[in-house]
Amino acid sequence: MTLPDRWEMVVGLEVHTELKTTTKMFCGCANEFGAEPNTNICPVCLGLPGSLPVLNVRAVDLAMAIGFALHSTIASSTFHRKNYFYPDMPKDFQISQYDLPINSGGYLDLPDGSRVTVERAHLEEDTGKSTHLGGSGRIHGAERSLVDYNRSGVPLVEIVSGPDIRSSAQARAYASELRGILIATGASDGRMEEGSMRIDANVSVRRPGDPLGTRCEIKNLNSLRSLHRAIDYEALRQIELIDAGGTVRQETRHWDESLGATSTMRTKEEAEDYRYFREPDLVDLVPDPAWQERVRAGLGAMPAQRRATLRARLSDATSSQLDALEVVVDLGFDDLVLAAIDAGIDPTLAMARAANELASGIDHVGNLTTEAFTTTLAMEQSGELSATQAKTVLLELLEHGGDPRKIAKDKGFEQLSSGSLGATVEALIKQHPEEWTRFAEGDEKLAQFFIGQVMKSTKGQANGKAVIAELQSRR
């Protein structure tokens, strides 16, 4: 979307990411999405009288890993209490970092070459979750709500960007690149649909060169699509308001995905007085150089570098390959693809299988070894397996693991590899003499016709390249 002439938007994002720890931030309850309500709770994360928090070292490690990936300065930090009443917050305060966050400063370079600065990335705890009963199931109009505290106390890192973003597309690219980094560091699984990454956007508009306009904060954007739409909507709303002679009021706004619109949630005057003060139940966090180095040394390559590494192996990358590259790196299949290429697999084939079949079975990728992946692709490349068969073998490997040769054999995939394909082609030539004549006279398009016929009669078990070879030998 483009804004009306002589307007630009100024956007900063606050991204909350849940950290992929085994336990919660301040207690030993499981940090687990989707558990039965109120089964992962204890005196600490339920804020029972007398309970005290003790910081999870893994949450600190992951926060520092994020800091390193974002080129932040990692420093001594403290915890504060942010005080406000809300039923999903058991202590009626949130433990967060305030004036001394663990990570300050930094930046994120986007694939288009632009750079977005990062102001801070600090640790804090998540709240519980409410379900609204009655009305439309949404908070407004509900008669009552039910609260589940399983998520209460799950560790979060809040990453605050500078107001450097100038378009919804750039905002989306930033969120997407950040998501890739969070996954690469092992800090997060990046699953926005499960709420493990949530975004608030600060949006203002101005004429380029003017000072910053009044901003509105849009809360809880839970998909890249919402982010994109909400920012565009909000920027246009502000421009129309100003063009009509109005002024933008500083406020917090809610994005309604179904209406495609933002609406006022809270004005600046209604803003809470959070009464931040030092959390007296926690001590200072002072990661010494050895601790920092241990975390830094454990970090793998970030997505930008991994994309570059893989890109270098795709000698003449097509645009579909470049799209696949995004997916492959995003999902962390680049090591598999590189190993396959090293073993002599055609990069195009390796990329396609990773970006499609592996991506579709992402939850089971742990069952697939590098060796099994490479072997399957080698069988496909040599014509031992058709494309369809290779895909079937890959899906089977994802589901249950195992040896691709054995799977192919068990499924009877090897029978077409030799003489029987020739016989099938022979028979089809006899059935379709007109088509064969045209092919024999040089109409290459007819090759696809014969491949289709062979696939039909072999229920997809033939290899397209092998069929062409059989046809050519009879031309």
Partner: protein, 470 residues
């Protein structure tokens, strides 16, 4: 502790000791309102477990069969725990405070929960939602507070020892009013896990007993690192009982003007007499002035309420305790808190909320934290002149019920001598020394740097002997 060694040797049984404790509780609890809940069933079970350990020839623990009273802000599984507040009436904690785990492991027999000022906010036990506790030595008077129930239980011979908590003097002042030894340990020496928080950076759990030796024993049992409390000191419990008879020879003891000035004459006279007794036992007495101590009260009455305003936010009617229904959740929170908290708690919540709020933080809370730094520096300088400090515990002996309950500031002033130690995190105790004009006990306060408990007990023991106590 005689009871413990008699239980271990078989001269008596834990069950018999428990029964006589129960009898003593029944004899005076209606009159004094000490126990809010007598845990008869739990006490019998605990006593029998101790007796079984003895019968099996196992070590039954340092506190084998010793009945103990627990302040009602210590969470105990399945035992009503209210912190003296209506808002927690009927609440049964699903977990034990670390100190309770430790006294149980040492063979003690918890007899139940004793009264306190609501959320430990008070100096007389009159702010309890369950009515005031009376001083066993003179029932027309208060036992002090906020651990008034813990002090009264021991003073009325209901239990030989008890646990209380001290945020600004809440163990030492009632110990003084009831003629007991009461200890505010070094911040972090005793785990706060399971102590219902008043002011987290000041709260410490500590013992009450009739003498220094028993208090040292109970502190040894409950002290030492706890991984459940981030502010817990890293080392194991210090050895204390073995140092009780170390004496004070060669020690420099500083009599601090700001720790007795303004107290009643009968109190000042005992402080002077205590200094003389310590000098007679070989200590060097030095006169010290620490003007910063005068700022302690103001700093305390900003810091403690600020932390409390946040610690007490959780009592919102959602998860446990009282709920007063209303049509939306914010109104329900408000109705619940309005009905569930008493006036003193409301005052402090509002004071703390104000001190932290936008526009006032720097002038009040922020400034108080800086005064706290100065207080710590002042103590450090004082400890260059003296190993331990001596003063009064409270400005007066036990006052009569109702004397100060309508004047919050007057009540706050009764903590003036005890507060500086909490701000600094240092160790202090109150030991009975002499009686005033009315025959009521006077407490003198001994203060030392962090981890100086052993020296404090040794000095307390010197005073006990000088005062003709066994």
């Amino acid at each position: 502790m005689q009871i413990a060694s008699d239980v271990r040797s078989g001269a008596t049984t834990a069950e018999a000791e428990m029964a006589s404790s129960l009898e003593a509780i029944r004899a005076r609890n209606d009159e004094l309102n000490v126990f809010l809940f007598v845990d008869e069933g739990g006490a019998i079970n605990a006593a029998r477990r101790v007796d079984e350990r003895v019968a099996r020839g196992e070590n039954a623990g340092q506190l084998a069969g010793v009945p103990i009273a627990l302040k009602d802000n210590l969470c105990q599984v399945g035992v009503p725990t209210t912190a003296g507040s209506r808002i927690l009436e009927g609440w049964l904690p699903p977990y034990n405070a670390t100190v309770i785990e430790r006294v149980l492991a040492a063979g003690a027999v918890p007899m139940g929960k004793v009264n306190m000022d609501e959320f430990a906010m008070g100096s007389s036990t009159e702010s309890s939602a369950y009515g005031p506790t009376r001083n066993p030595l003179d029932p027309s008077r208060v036992p002090g507070g906020s651990s008034g129930g813990s002090a009264s239980a021991v003073a009325a011979d209901m239990t030989p020892m008890s646990l209380g908590s001290d945020t600004g003097g809440s163990i030492r002042q009632p110990a003084a009013f009831c003629g007991l030894v009461g200890v505010k340990p070094t911040y972090g020496l005793v785990s706060r896990y399971g102590l219902i928080a008043f002011a987290s950076s000041l709260d410490q759990i500590g013992p009450f007993a009739k003498n220094a030796t028993d208090a040292a024993l109970l502190l040894e049992v409950i002290a030492g690192h706890d991984p459940m409390d981030s502010t817990s000191l890293p080392e194991p419990a210090p050895s204390l009982v073995s140092h009780v008879n170390d004496g004070v020879a060669g020690q420099r003891i500083g009599v601090v003007r700001e720790l007795y000035e303004g107290a009643d004459d009968e109190v000042v006279a005992e402080v002077e007499r205590a200094a003389a007794a310590l000098r007679d036992a070989g200590a060097t007495i030095v006169e010290i002035s620490v003007p910063e101590f005068r700022l302690g009260l103001s700093a305390y009455y900003l810091i403690a309420p600020a932390e409390a305003s946040s610690n007490l936010a959780r009592y919102d009617g959602v998860r446990y305790g009282l709920r007063v229904d209303a049509e939306d959740v914010a109104a329900m929170n408000e109705a619940t808190r309005t009905a569930g908290f008493g006036a003193e708690v409301k005052r402090r919540i509002m004071l703390g909320t104000y001190a932290l709020s936008a526009g006032y933080y720097d002038a009040y809370y922020g400034q108080a934290l800086k005064v706290r730094t100065q207080m710590i520096d002042a103590f450090r300088r004082a400890y260059q002149e003296a190993d331990l400090l001596l003063g009064a515990t409270a400005p007066s002996v036990a006052f009569t019920l109702g004397a100060k309950s309508s004047d919050p500031l007057a009540m706050y002033l009764s903590d003036v001598f005890t507060i500086p130690t909490n701000l600094a995190g240092d160790a202090a105790l109150s030991v009975p020394f002499g009686t005033g004009d009315t025959g009521l006990p006077v407490g003198v306060q001994l203060v030392g740097p962090g981890r100086s408990e052993a020296q404090l007990f040794a000095a307390a023991r010197v005073l006990e002997l000088a005062d003709g106590r066994s």
